[in-house]
């Protein structure tokens, strides 16, 4: 059924996707909040930049990232200077690339959810002594639950399914950067269709369960009255 390599790839994928999703939420939330609230002229441009990586084919984006993050690239020189070394072909690089590629799927739904929160709720919180940060956690977050659900699911799923960027930046190193999408791809290319079906089926089954739990447990039911 599953070869040890398959299982390794599955576990690695889970790690990358979880970490990337966490980082995307961490960076994406303040960004989305700013985008939803600001009236700055920069808003449109920043918004555009966030969505832009999407239009590039993943392998091409991966290629550019490889140049940028590589030891001769700007970012690469910086990370080398920091003593981290160049990011390509490392687990960290994989996460960074995934974050860059999937972040629009996190920022955009959050922004939609945030811009739907009326000023009144924020004002009520302020009169009840909640600082802006406090208000964010006690009012904005719960009121944007459905936006966060969407952001998490899209970000997580897209990171799992992502393939081109991960392959380029990760280097497809077994048990280091070979995620399950690459593994399935390999099976298909190698005409090992049965293996591919099993792995794809397993991934689907697993994701189905996770998503179903997210969707039903968090009970984002429509508002009443």
């Amino acid at each position: 059924m599953f070869s040890p390599a398959d299982i390794e790839a599955l576990l690695l994928t889970l790690k990358v996707a979880s970490l990337a999703t966490i980082f995307m939420l961490l960076f994406g939330t303040p960004l989305a909040w700013w985008l939803a609230r600001t009236r700055s002229k920069w808003r449109g441009i920043i918004n555009t930049f966030v969505a832009l990586p999407l239009v590039l084919p993943p392998t091409v984006l991966g290629f550019y990232l490889l140049i940028l993050l590589g030891k001769n690239g700007i970012v690469g020189e910086f990370t080398t200077w920091l003593g981290i070394g160049a990011l390509p072909f490392t687990f960290a690089g994989l996460v960074v690339a995934s974050v860059l590629y999937s972040i629009p799927f996190v920022v955009q739904p959050l922004q939609t959810a945030f811009s739907n929160i009326g000023e009144q709720s924020l004002e009520a919180a302020a009169t009840l002594r909640a600082s802006p940060i406090d208000t964010f956690f006690s009012v904005v977050l719960p009121l944007s639950k459905s936006g966060f659900l969407t952001a998490t699911i899209l970000g997580f799923a897209h990171t799992i399914g992502e393939f081109g960027v991960v392959l380029m930046v990760g280097g497809n190193i077994p048990d280091k950067t070979r995620v399950v999408s690459v593994q399935i791809y390999n099976h298909v290319e190698a005409l090992e269709y049965t293996q591919a079906h099993w792995l794809a089926g397993g991934l689907l089954g697993f994701s189905f369960t996770v998503l179903l739990i997210l969707y039903t447990d968090l009970k984002i039911t429509p508002r009443v009255k």
């Binding site: 392959l167 380029m168 280097g171 497809n172 290319e189 190698a190």
Partner: protein, 236 residues
């Protein structure tokens, strides 16, 4: 004769020579060859699912033979159109010696190869390293491209110090030698024959353009182009 069009699936590593050959083919016969590029595995799957390809130029022998067996290709129509040449290459000059000794005693962090689970260049690179008894030592340093183009990108961007790539990717078409950096052209006796094989698909059986292209690819002008781009010529 009438001008017909044939649709040809071509393995990605053969993009450049095939594009030039197609242009010459059009000039010579007034038929047209439309080219669809992609990895051999993809084309294989597509042909099985009724893709309109008439001729298939794969990077290895395996897929064409399989297609004949499955009945998607005309029986016994397969032929070798070029021999793949492997090179161990680095962007840095004087990094790779012309004997490949670096594999035994060199120090590097990453060696790029095409994924040996399906990409022919990867499969032969592994054979070479095994033969040289360095496979066990080097395997942990592998970074694997999905195909040979990506493998090349790993090396050109400097992220992998060296890699097994196609000679075609680094050949200087003027001199016929490695154009830049440093490299070791791997002797063919270090791996099994790297026959790049084409096959006539059932869809193209009755298309004069397809048949004409099969003839043309074996003609001297086509062979010259194949050679120019760093492939070996099939022995007949």
């Amino acid at each position: 004769s009438y001008a017909d069009t044939t649709l040809v699936a071509v393995a990605s590593d053969f993009i450049k020579p095939m594009t030039e050959i197609a242009a010459e083919f059009e000039k010579a016969t007034s038929h047209t060859a439309k080219l669809s590029f992609g990895s051999s595995g993809k084309a294989f799957a597509q042909i099985q699912n009724d893709a309109p390809f008439e001729l298939y130029f794969a990077a290895s022998e395996q897929y064409p033979l399989e297609l004949e067996k499955l009945g998607f290709a005309v029986e016994n129509s397969h032929f070798t159109f070029a021999i793949g040449k492997l090179v161990l290459w680095s962007q840095t000059s004087n990094f790779v010696d012309d004997k490949g000794d670096i594999l035994k005693n060199g120090t590097f962090k990453h060696l790029a190869i095409a994924d040996p689970s399906h990409a022919p260049y990867g499969i032969f690179a592994v054979e070479v390293m095994k033969k040289l008894n360095v496979f066990e030592k080097i395997e942990p340093l592998f970074v694997q491209g999905e195909n040979i183009a990506q493998t090349f990108q790993f090396v050109t961007t400097g992220n992998a110090e060296l890699g097994f790539i196609a000679f075609a990717q680094v050949i200087d078409t003027q001199t016929g030698k490695i154009g830049s950096g440093s490299g070791w052209l791997v002797p063919e006796n270090l791996h099994s024959p790297f026959n790049q094989t084409a096959v006539l698909l059932k869809k193209g059986e009755n298309n004069p353009a397809t048949i004409a292209l099969i003839d043309f690819i074996k003609s001297p002008p086509a062979l010259a182009i194949i050679k120019k781009y760093g492939f070996g010529l099939p022995t007949r």
